[in-house]
Amino acid sequence: MRKALKSLTVSTLALSLATGYAMAEDLRFTVWTGNEAHLDMLNGIADGFEAKHPGTTVTFETIPAGDYVQKLTFQLAGGNPPDLGWMFEDSMPTFVAAGAVEPLTDTLENAEAYDLADFSDPAMSLWKEDGEIFGVPFSTSPFMVFYNKDMFDAAGLEDPLTLAEKGEWTLEKFRDVAKALTKPEERFWGFEFKDGQGYDTRIMHAVMPPIRAYGGNGWSNGECGFEKAEAVEAVEMLHQMVFEDKSIVPPGEQGDYFSGSSAMTINQISRASKMPEAGFEWGIAPLPSGPAGEAPVIGQAGLVVFAKSDNKERAKQFIAWMTNKKNVEVMAQFFPPARVSVLESDAFTEANALIPPEQMKHVAAAIKEGEVLPSHERAPQILAAMKPRFDALWRADADVEASLKAICDAIRPQL
């Protein structure tokens, strides 16, 4: 009896260890895409990894983008942590500061034929802290000007791409064409901020491109830049476009570019997928240059391993696998790469079915030179503090300089 009990205990223990081991090899990977083509591609990459590491499985779990950070945080805090996942650029500093993500430098440096130096420095800057790598960007997508070519042709104007090729695509020109294309009586505007949310959730996407083109910044190194002369000039220009030229869709109005109510907007190339159904000729061009020259802005998303994962080492290896040169080439069909060698290949400029190579060339150039939006570990608090002051700025009678100073006063304690 005792012997039987003993052997039962031992076998139960062995079984639980074995299943524990098997479970330890099941990597849970959170993503915010539900797109089947994306998931097929990701599963294809995982298949290769699983073949190399028998016993390991990778499961992709979709959390919708709008709830991603919230639900992820609750999974991490609630004792149900995924092993690794996608990470938004603006959430990254918060996660690093909280110690919620794992350092990856060792794994990446020692990964077989990885060539870490192939990732451009500006592309990696956001994902490093004190020389240690905490994430690897898998999507580095510049903000481009989308334009309605039919509208430019009808007005007899040169389109932004043509102007850019001639080196004449400047903020002044941008303002001129936006004004020329605006038809107030038809409720048609020259320009719409990104997704029409420039006054709400996309404040930074609205103001940062011209601020950077003027040579300014929102904030950097704990210092607020909104009140500096370059930023004031840039925002004053936008303010005049909204309230004097009336060429930008004003606050409280809807003027969707994709349904043909605005001649131009700013967005990332993934939005090109909406264009075939738009029903007009279109193109993409770089952001207009300013007194400080060209200042491309990029948006990034990266891969991280969560500190609460039970399978950190395997998860890190998977990140190294997923971002090796071959897999970055695979992902480039959907996600613009941060690897210079892939970026410079013809494969990339020819990879996009919707955007012709001569336009993709500008995308590649913007990725190489582009900077991400200002980031901060307290970004949610900074944006919340900024929002009401920007509301005050977006009024016809606002004193732009004073409003920008108020914005700096509000966010300075957070910086």
Binding site: A77, A98, A100, R187, D200, A384, K387, P388, D391
Partner: protein, 309 residues
């Protein structure tokens, strides 16, 4: 289930003397209330106690560390953070705007629609329909209608020569706009409650008053209104509580803006908990909201008791 229990209980009753009728009834009573009671304990009392504990800790969900800080979160909210009083002010304005308007409109609609007349069912349906409409659809449609220049509301106002404001972009107008759209959405519910109350008032009272020579207004003032008092109290309590808890409407229409003009308490709690992950501070705010709502309810009940005596 209950019958199975009954039969087994009865079977035992013959053999086990301690299971008296009284005991049996007590057990049955507990069995009957237990589903609700267990639900109450797990899904209400448990979280409530947890919130009290969380509210006394500094807890950032992401970094994980939970440190006991006593009443620091409450002191922070009540004495140190100017945002808090701004938020309370907004919540009070919202409630003071919404509750009287909602109740007055509900009563007027109920009086108009309580008697069986032609078309009355149609109009009741029309006014009740927004209650069952999705809040998301409601908010999106109103956002379109309330656009600055292109909005339907302002185009209609322009027809009569009024230059409407940019409703959702000016703090005071935005507050007015969310209150009015919320009233239109929710008034149907209170209307139904008032209709039910009006229909339960015996016609004899009104006839008696009429025979004594009372005018329509006097009948309403001296007969109908006092008899509606219990319903009015209930409506007032639930509408006030509802107005303090308003979240979806604000989230969808203004996001607390412009210039924090519609930042109400429930939305502020959401922001602290789910955007900044300050669970401790958000829990303290939630407790403050709980106390406010509790006090309002007690005050209204006391007023009612005094009215009755």
């Amino acid at each position: 289930m209950a019958t199975a229990d009954d039969t087994s209980a009865m079977a035992r009753h013959t053999r086990v003397p301690w299971l008296t009728l009284k005991r049996r009834e007590t057990i049955e009573a507990w069995l009957f209330v237990s589903p609700t009671l267990i639900g109450f304990l797990i899904f209400f009392l448990g979280p409530l106690i947890a919130v009290v504990i969380y509210s006394m800790s500094e807890w950032n969900l992401l970094s994980g560390g939970q440190v006991f800080v006593g009443l620091a979160n409450y002191r922070d909210a009540l004495a140190e953070n100017p945002d808090f009083w701004h938020v309370i002010r907004n919540s009070v304005i919202f409630a003071m705007g919404l509750v009287p308007m909602n109740m007055a409109l509900a009563l007027i609609l109920a009086i108009a629609l309580s008697r069986p007349r032609r078309g009355v069912v149609f109009f009741r349906t029309v006014f009740f329909a927004p209650v069952v409409t999705s809040a998301v659809a409601w908010a999106i449609v109103w956002k379109f209608l309330l656009q600055g220049e292109g909005g339907t509301v302002n185009q209609l106002l322009a027809l009569v020569g009024v230059n409407g404001p940019n409703w959702l972009r000016e703090p005071d107008w935005a507050m007015a706009a969310v209150i009015v759209t919320r009233v239109i959405k929710m008034v149907g519910l209170n209307m139904i409650l008032y209709i039910a109350a009006l229909q339960s008032i015996p016609r004899d009272y009104e006839e008696a008053a009429r025979l004594e020579g009372a005018t329509g207004w006097q009948v309403f003032r001296m007969v109908t209104w006092p008899l509606l008092a219990p319903t009015t109290l209930i409506i007032m309590v639930i509408t006030t509580i509802g107005s303090f808890k308003v979240f979806d409407h604000i989230y969808l229409m203004t996001g607390g803006g412009p210039e924090n003009g519609t930042l109400v308490l429930a939305f502020y709690i959401y922001e602290q908990a789910f955007e900044f992950f300050n669970v401790g501070y958000a829990s303290a705010l939630a407790m403050i909201m709980f106390v406010i709502v509790l006090m309002l309810t007690i005050v209204q009940l006391l007023l009612r008791q005094r009215g009755a005596t």
